[in-house]
Symmetry: C2
Subunit: 427 residues, 2 copies
């Protein structure tokens, strides 16, 4: 999406009266549509309803006899670890089952790296920065996920934006940066069906992330594999596993992988996992033992009983795709029929988002106009560090929650707003 959208102004101006009257009609309709976040819809949640009753009065023990109703099992049930190792594409000793939120696992690993440091580092990130009179820094490919950026801000980590455009991550820039600055301690990336771009990180980029020279011996890639099985089509990306690539490159400890079933089973009642080298897992387990006596093993058991295995998860995700693919199609169809030549956008084959680039300087105004017509969108700028899109053009569209009919309505509103914003901008 690196090209600049330069709409045909004459055509837009000709359409202006019609756009204005359509907009007025939207305002009069009293819409209240929410496309702000990647939330599943009720029909998706219904797919997992049997999980609510899958455990019974006679079924609460793990395969090794562990009573899942009692304390213990700090890093997860063995069979849950086996399943989610496969899920993340790592070995059984390279995964820990956490609570209900992969965001919490990212938050906690970051908090621990700041306060205590990580394997390979001489000291905590905070004290290294203090000793050098600088700040801990993270590379933040953008557009990206706002909650990643929020975590950096929260922990006082300086964000360095690197382009994540239609041709993928600017890995040349990443290599240059990490080679020269020992306080660059990490990089965020959603490897598959990225948020918001839908981008699938290429195998070349993965190989280079694994072998690039880092000035910081304790550099970490935060590999947020949130959409690893969230396919919208029958295509299955043939993506290298970064942990495997790191092992091959002798940089075993470089990556922390994150995943969850938040958008597979129930959002908030799923299970979250963190993966990485045995050294990284020992580090995490060591910290975890101070924080908790153990996770909710009954909920792990629910997932095991309901999904059984990876084939079960894959089959389940096809049902999700059947529910949400028509919504993505509706978004694509609205964009194509109404914004051709005005904006550009992604056509993801998985994940939860469509990324739209308006003409430069029009994103904020578009979101504002849509809001005033009853359609809530993710805030413009949210997909960039510090909430600042330098070209004020990127908008994340989240089509899963509303009904198909509402998506169609919302996209009509959206497209009209983009054009109105472009017209305003041209004046």
């Amino acid at each position: 999406m690196s090209k600049t959208n330069q709409p045909n102004l004459a055509a837009l101006r000709a359409e202006e009266p019609s756009l204005k009257s359509r907009y007025a009609a939207f305002q009069a309709a009293g819409l209240a549509l929410d496309m702000t976040r990647g939330k599943p819809c009720a029909q998706q949640l219904d797919l997992s309803l049997d999980m609510l009753t899958v455990l019974t009065r006679d079924d609460y023990k793990a395969a090794d006899g562990t009573d899942c109703r009692n304390y213990g099992g700090l890093d997860g049930l063995p069979e849950a670890k086996a399943l989610f190792a496969e899920f993340l594409g790592v070995q059984k000793d390279e995964v820990i089952i956490g609570g209900n939120s992969s965001l919490a696992l990212m938050h906690d690993t970051l908090a621990r790296a700041m306060s205590h440091g990580v394997p390979g580092g001489a000291a905590s990130w905070t004290s290294q920065a203090a000793a050098q009179g600088g700040k801990v820094k993270f590379i933040c490919p953008a557009p990206g996920y706002d909650r990643h950026f929020a975590l950096c801000e929260h922990f006082g980590i300086e964000m360095i934006t690197v382009d994540l455009g239609e041709s993928g991550l600017d890995i040349d820039a990443v290599e240059r940066l990490v080679a020269s600055d020992e306080l660059i301690k990490g990089l965020w990336l959603v490897p598959k069906y990225g948020n918001p771009s839908g981008l699938i990180v290429s195998n070349e980029v993965i190989a280079r992330l694994a072998r690039m020279k880092c000035a910081a011996p304790d550099f970490r890639v935060y590999w947020d594999d949130a959409y690893t099985v969230h396919h919208l089509t029958d295509a299955r990306p043939d993506q290298l596993n970064l942990q495997s690539a790191c092992k091959a490159a002798g940089t075993d400890d470089r990556v922390l992988l994150f995943g969850s079933t938040s958008k597979i089973s129930f959002s908030g009642s799923g299970i979250a996992v963190v993966g990485g080298s045995a050294a990284n897992m020992a580090w995490y387990r060591g910290h975890l033992g101070f924080q908790t006596i153990g996770p909710d093993k009954l909920n792990q058991l629910r997932h095991l009983r309901f999904f059984k295995d990876m084939a079960g998860i894959e089959a389940h995700m096809k049902k999700h795709a059947a529910v949400i693919k028509p919504k993505f199609d509706a978004v694509a169809s609205a964009l194509k029929s109404q914004l051709e030549g005005v904006a550009s956008w992604t056509t993801p084959t998985g994940g939860y988002f469509v990324s739209v680039d308006t003409p430069d300087g029009c994103a904020k105004r578009t979101v504002q106009l849509a809001k005033a017509a009853g359609v809530s969108l993710t805030g413009a700028g949210a997909t960039f560090p510090y909430g600042k899109d330098p070209r004020d053009r990127n908008i994340r569209v989240a089509p899963t929650l509303p009904s198909l009919a509402d998506i169609e309505k919302a996209m009509d509103v959206f497209c009209v707003c983009v054009k109105l914003a472009a017209l305003e901008k041209s004046q």
Copy 2:
């Protein structure tokens, strides 16, 4: 338990041959009994079995219509907050429902205080300490809970031991300490049925904790109300609520209260809560919003459906008491019949532990002897900061997990070991 146990050595020596032959018989019996931790037994967990199936395909919505299967509800369902506000004895806006572990809530509040500071403080605890060239310090009443002490060590917090003897907390010492040192930022206390002492903190101490002058404006009492409804008898302690006392004293932000249903419903699959002033809760919520999108609301709903209200929780706890009271009685009876004059101990009316003081210098050896005879006890010293019991005499006995028959066996072993350790010590 401040007195020194000075056993009648002549009597012990007379008993020595019999003690030695009983010990040899225990060793030969191949026992494997675990009294290390406060874990509920299967019969207690059975009491909540209906919770496994209490939600159904048609019952997953909160009272306000919230679909508990989806994201949201950062600080808990309104009805869960109402119930657990009552549980902690605070107002509805003074509670947040966390994940499954109150230990995690304590860990996280501590981590945040260290890295970001708390309301009333000029800076993070870490930077205040650095600015003054000192260390953050906590007052640790002892004997106390080993995991509290472990958290302090983990975060590099210096522990100052204050006596928590049979006459309660040495509040004079606490007042002196907090008045003079601005880097004393906190104090741990289990207010009811303390771990391991079973002690009920007196209303005088509570009132003085609320109104004492603290050099640190950002001092916090970590009020771990882990056993607030865990009565063993029909008596109900008439205990002041520290949050109410603080409000009355104008020190509203002084306390953070913690609780959970880990020993009420399922251990690991319960729900945990943190309470405190509206300012403290706003602070916590602010941090929480970076860490997670929300807790497991379905599990909150399970608890609400199963317990309904405080009366439901109280009634449920009577069933727990019926299961475990005989075990506590067996411990008391063994101690009384075998260790009178040799050791001293508590007779708690609630909670999960009995605290035993052997003669000075005998705790480690007792635990070692018991282990060699197949009875695992909490490590000697665990109940003191840095794992160091200055008089090497305190042992925490956790009688809930083993069967009554096993408790009787284990206590026989225990009593013999105390006497053998005392004999060795006297030589």
